[in-house]
């Protein structure tokens, strides 16, 4: 839907500009109204408010870049459709759709629930009718599995997760190219990847904190103790839904500084020897997360 509106705008602007030139536009206000600048800026500001960005200038720059690429795609794409009816144009078209979908997904952090959900919806709709040019499938069937998988891959790599770390996660969420992905599955996949990226970044920070005092690689015992504590807390938080508050309380008790100090001190005195490098730590932390992700079926 958003796409249609943007397309229309791109189609409208040039004639409007041309008109304004010939008519020597009476007032500035009229010129702005004709060029649709007000709507353009309002849209940009709305997006920015929704995303609550830290970097307004960067955000607006990206936003307008995206709009520009959309209007390019709008004009270029339609020519392509007529000329070579699919394949090459279709591929480029698809890539553009994917980029735009990713751009929408990047707009809001997943903790801004409603904004994030809106953006996921927009991205889903964008990808869903990307079968467009050939027109064979039409929309409504769901996003193609290949596009969905590609979206997740991009999200993870943009989130700073090394491909080797995200591979087991993507294996669980992965869809075949011929499969049609419904919205719920898409949303779950996207959210999981976004959360996972945050999780891995946090794990990397944690590693730095654990080796902080003496800048040496973390001893295996210590690393295992820290991850073991996390695992233990997550295990308590499984079980019946009704007692969620209690479970949370219990988990937080297990993750208290006192408990950790105790776990680390015991690990240091008696635990496996050797050291653990950052990658190994990251993998161990990732495993804790990934084993809890449901395999898509």
């Amino acid at each position: 839907m958003a796409d249609n509106k943007e397309k229309r705008r791109s189609a409208v602007i040039p004639p409007a500009m041309a008109d304004s030139k010939t008519a020597k536009c009476d007032s500035d206000r009229e010129f702005l109204a004709q060029a649709g600048v007000g709507e353009l800026l309002r849209g940009a500001i709305l997006k920015m408010v929704e995303a609550r960005t830290d970097d307004p200038i960067g955000f607006l720059a990206d936003h307008f870049c995206n709009l520009a690429s959309v209007s390019d795609a709008g004009t270029g794409g339609s020519e392509g459709d007529e000329m070579n009816n699919g394949t090459l144009g279709g591929r480029a078209h698809e890539q553009q759709r994917l980029n735009r979908a990713l751009w929408h997904l990047r707009l809001a952090h997943h903790s801004h629930r409603s904004a994030f959900s809106n953006n996921v919806r927009v991205a889903y709709d964008l990808l869903n009718d990307s079968m467009g040019p050939s027109g064979s499938d039409g929309d409504g069937g769901g996003v193609r599995g290949g596009l969905y998988t590609q979206t997740l891959q991009c999200l993870c790599s943009e989130g700073g997760v090394p491909a080797s770390t995200s591979a087991p996660l993507l294996h669980r969420l992965h869809c075949q190219d011929h499969e049609a992905v419904p919205y719920d599955v898409f949303r779950h996949g996207v959210l999981t990847c976004a959360v996972f990226s945050d999780y891995i970044r946090q794990a990397q920070r944690l590693y730095a904190e654990v080796c902080c005092p003496d800048e040496e690689p973390v001893s295996r015992a210590l690393g295992m103790a820290v991850i073991g504590t996390l695992k233990e807390a997550l295990e308590t938080s499984q079980g019946s839904e009704a007692r969620r508050t209690l479970r949370y309380l219990e988990a937080s008790a297990k993750l208290s500084p006192d408990q950790l100090a105790q776990a680390m001190a015991t690990a240091q005195t008696r635990g496996p020897g050797g050291s653990m490098d950052a990658k190994e730590f990251e993998n161990a932390a990732a495993e804790v997360f990934i084993t809890r992700v449901k395999v898509l079926s």
């Binding site: 599995g145 904190e209 210590l222 997550l234 219990e250 937080s252 100090a261 240091q268 449901k294 898509l296």
Partner: protein
Amino acid sequence: MSVSADSEPVSCTVKPPVFLQLGDAKTDTVKSGVCIVDVTLPFGKSVNIEEISFKNFYTAYVTVRLLRKVPGQEAAAKWTTALRDLALMENPHTEGGSQDYSSIHRAQMQVVPDHVMSVRFILRQPSSAWMNFNLQEIKIFQKEVSDLLSDLTLVDFRPDLEGLPDPSTVSSSIQQMWALTEVMQTNQTTASIGRFDVDGCYDVNLLSVP
């Protein structure tokens, strides 16, 4: 505030009321207006009280005393006053509140009602208008997260942190990771894409020959 309907009261023994008598217990029937009700838990047991509930029967004021044991030292149990002269009736001489249900919550008590072995109610009724007074249906409810909280408060182990990272920063990082994992888990979807194969293999039973 009130205890949820599904929680069960602690099993305990409510002893018969003992009235404080003036003069000779047999001949003199003048009552002093003071009565004591003891509630004991099974021997060797203790309870972390969440709430005490009862039905009043013409008692004007109640004082609650608790026999609490010090964890780790079985012998050193001590009586303390948890609540002094709580008014149960608006006016001792009138009916108001005389047969109401009341409850005393943990937060109302002046001491922490943990590790309680015995509860003593001291009932007072200064008005001579009533022949008798008592508390009925006394029930004690236990705090559910007792073990957890006692774990929290009893950490007196101060490990040697020489050469170890700061536990509070490590703790806050891990808590973040825990929360992220929880976010993922609570957002798991039940939707599926209707696949019959698992990891590229089909269930043998699905491969039937017509």
